[in-house]
């Protein structure tokens, strides 16, 4: 194992940043959900890297739970998108300002 753990941390940090920029910049709800998946994957890489380098399996178990939550999030998020599209005929977040002051 001659790849230092910092490489994995830097990689996951950059992927997390790309996902964050995607959430903030894009206006399409589907792309925003895809960017959230990017951020979840970045944290998973972090978990697995530390779990492997510290010899502790708890990190991999938590990746398992994060995967479960990601699956639930996708199911509910896509259901919300379909309901919104049926109501507004749009998936642009600028069109949804019902809760804005």
């Amino acid at each position: 194992m001659n790849v230092p753990v910092e490489f994995y941390l830097v990689l996951s940090g950059i992927v997390f940043l790309i996902g964050l920029v995607g959430v903030l910049v894009r206006r399409n709800i589907i792309i925003i959900l895809l960017s959230i998946e990017l951020m979840l994957n970045a944290t998973n890489i972090n978990f697995v890297a530390f779990s492997s380098y510290l010899g502790n399996l708890a990190g991999q178990v938590f990746v398992f739970f994060a995967l479960t939550v990601a699956a639930a999030e996708v199911a509910v998020g896509l259901a919300i998108i379909i309901a919104l599209y049926r109501h507004h005929e749009s998936i642009n977040v600028d069109d949804f300002s019902l809760l804005k002051w």
Binding site: L24, A49, A79
Partner: protein, 173 residues
């Protein structure tokens, strides 16, 4: 050699992650996310997490991404979305935060040398990865495991209720 493989995986992951955010067509974004999931699975294999690599491909690439593609095809999007128009504020905040991070990093000495991680304990190579994860999952983490199944149940019911016809329209007959 191992470093070379890592850099291949990291390069493809960074490229496809950027493409997910940058491409205009949501179908292309979802497909590049698929490539990224496969390479993350390869990274897991490098880290001796074979069970998670298999789960990553089965759940993420097999289930979640198919759901995304299904919804993208279902909605028939007309590609009229644009980027948000807060570029000036975003640039200012980004520069401030980046300067803050660099100053903090220099003052704490992060960029001087790599932190030393003590390699305490080795991977259990006598037992397989899947077997040891199963043992720890069903003994130490049994209660969170049950809660995870409950979350999946709630998400399933929520998805069914939300997509039922007449939920949002019921107030205005």
């Amino acid at each position: 050699m191992e470093t070379l493989i890592f850099f291949y995986f990291a390069g493809v992951i960074l490229l496809t992650a950027t493409l997910v955010v940058a491409l205009r067509n949501p179908i292309y974004s979802a497909l590049s996310l698929l490539v990224m999931f496969f390479h993350v699975a390869g990274l897991y294999v490098m880290l001796h997490a074979e069970f998670l690599a298999a789960i990553q491909i089965i759940v993420y690439a097999g289930a979640i991404l198919v759901l995304y593609l299904f919804v993208v095809m279902l909605l028939n999007i007309k590609r009229e979305e644009r980027f948000s128009k807060q570029g000036g504020v975003a640039l200012f905040l980004g520069i401030v935060l980046l300067a803050e991070a660099v100053i903090l990093g220099i003052s704490r000495g992060i960029f001087v040398g790599p932190a030393h991680v003590p390699p305490q304990g080795e991977q259990e190579t006598s037992v397989g990865n899947t077997e040891s994860i199963g043992e720890i999952l069903y003994s130490t983490y049994l209660f969170p495991f049950e809660i995870a199944s409950l979350i999946l149940l709630v998400a399933m019911i929520g998805a069914v209720i939300l997509t039922k016809k007449g939920i949002l329209e019921s107030k205005s007959p």
